[in-house]
Amino acid sequence: MTVTTLPGLRPVTRTAPVVRRRRLGPGRPIKFGAAIGPVVLLAVWSIGSATGWIDPRVLSAPWTVVTTAGELISDGRLQSNLWTSSQRALVGLGLGIVLGVVLALISGLSRLGEAILDGPIQIKRAIPSLALLPLLILWLGIGESMKVVTILLGVFVPIYIHTHNGLRTIDSRYVELAQTVGLSQREFIRRVVLPGALPGFLLGLRFAVTGAWLSLVVVEQINATSGIGYMMELARTYGQTDIIIVGLVLYGILGLLSDGVVRLIQRRALTWRRTLAS
């Protein structure tokens, strides 16, 4: 703004043109922006395969992958392998969740339990469960129990860590409240401790689900005779990249789906939290 004073006149105010500032942020969001990257990738893959620039021995064409998937479904191989894999993952996950929660409760609710359990589990946490494979194979052989136990070992640690942390970080003010309203030990655990630790448990569950798929991929490539991993290993020996890609896509879908399920559970179980976020 400039002020000009002329003799005998009142000051005149003139507004300077507004300076348009350069925008520093990344700008407005693009519609369907999240889809652009994958579509470009798919386009490059298709063009590469169509022009012969991508050797089908290195990477099959997208349409070959689709037809192969169709064939695998129609002869039932895909379903049966998917079923075996899901079963392994679910059994390992289920047992791991139970073990993790039970250990977390023992160690979170009693000092003695914590003294005995927490140390070994923290040590176990430092060792990647997949590093235990040689030992597990020696102990359990190469059958189903080895596979389930490996998945279980990968699952129970995150469940334990986050549930235990949730139990231990419950606000002491709520403990005081429980005392003043005269809650019994049982009611205290049911009304305060367990719901207070639920967010921690569900966070652990998300890590656990990811861990279960990871362990599954590895154990299915060791002497398996069924499962998605076996299907892919077999395809490797015959150089069938199309089947390998089908397996990868399956793993991807399973991972996304299961994460979605956990998030749905989280949203349902933690409605009281959503009110904060919204």
């Binding site: 309203v181 009304r191 305060v192 009281w272």
Partner: protein, 223 residues
């Protein structure tokens, strides 16, 4: 001693690290009496309240203490369990008290909010739920530790009126800990001043203006 619906303490002492935070407190509150406890920060107000609430079993101390069996506490923060609905918070630890809980919520003006989560309520509303939670237990003694300290001035005035009304209906003995002289004068029948763990002044609220001036004087504030 025989059960008594008020409070009696004789030579109550509480020590933290050999420092006597309460240094011989003699206190009597009759059934249905509303007493405010004033004091500066660190005067021992909260320690006294915690002793009366039985929240200090590990603290070193001595003296006689008689409190009624049924004591409710209202804290400075509403202290509602965020994962329980408003009604569940009110009847926490009570069996089959849903209907009484609803009535209690209606009394504090929150009828219809039974299913809400605490996080959906304003600060004043949360504190009203906390009041409902205390009153639904029909306490003989209500201990309140700066219950309105975190509220804005207008909400606080409304809460004063509400607390007054509720106490006239339910007639518990009340000990309200506060550092706000005006709040004490507005609410209490009798006001005590605590300093360095001792009760140094007592005022019956008859002429509010004069009482206020004397209390400020006792607290070392010259106006």
């Amino acid at each position: 001693m025989a059960p008594y619906a008020g409070i009696v303490t004789r030579n109550l002492v509480r020590r933290y690290d050999d420092r006597a935070v309460l240094d011989g407190v003699d206190l009597e509150i009759a059934a249905g009496e509303f007493v405010a406890l004033l004091g500066r920060s660190g005067s021992g107000k909260s320690t006294l309240l915690r002793a009366l609430a039985g929240l200090d079993p590990e603290v070193d101390g001595s003296g006689e203490l008689v409190v009624p069996e049924n004591v409710s506490v209202v804290f400075q923060d509403s202290r509602l369990l965020p994962w329980a609905t408003v009604l569940d918070n009110v009847v926490l630890g009570l069996r089959g008290a849903e209907e009484k809980g609803r009535q209690s919520l209606a009394e504090v003006g929150l009828a219809g909010r039974e299913k809400a989560w605490p996080n959906e309520l304003s600060g004043g509303e949360q504190q009203r739920v906390a009041l409902a939670r205390s009153l639904v237990r029909e306490p003989e003694l209500l201990l309140a530790d700066e219950p309105f300290g975190a509220l804005d001035a207008l909400t606080r005035l409304k809460m004063h009126a509400l607390l007054r009304t509720l106490c006239e209906v339910h007639r518990p003995a009340v000990l309200l800990v506060t550092h706000d002289v005006d709040e004490a004068v507005a609410l209490a029948d009798r006001i005590l001043v605590l300093e360095d763990g001792r009760l140094i002044a007592e005022e019956v609220v008859d002429e509010p203006a004069a009482v206020r001036a004397r209390l400020l004087d006792a607290l070392g504030v010259s106006v």
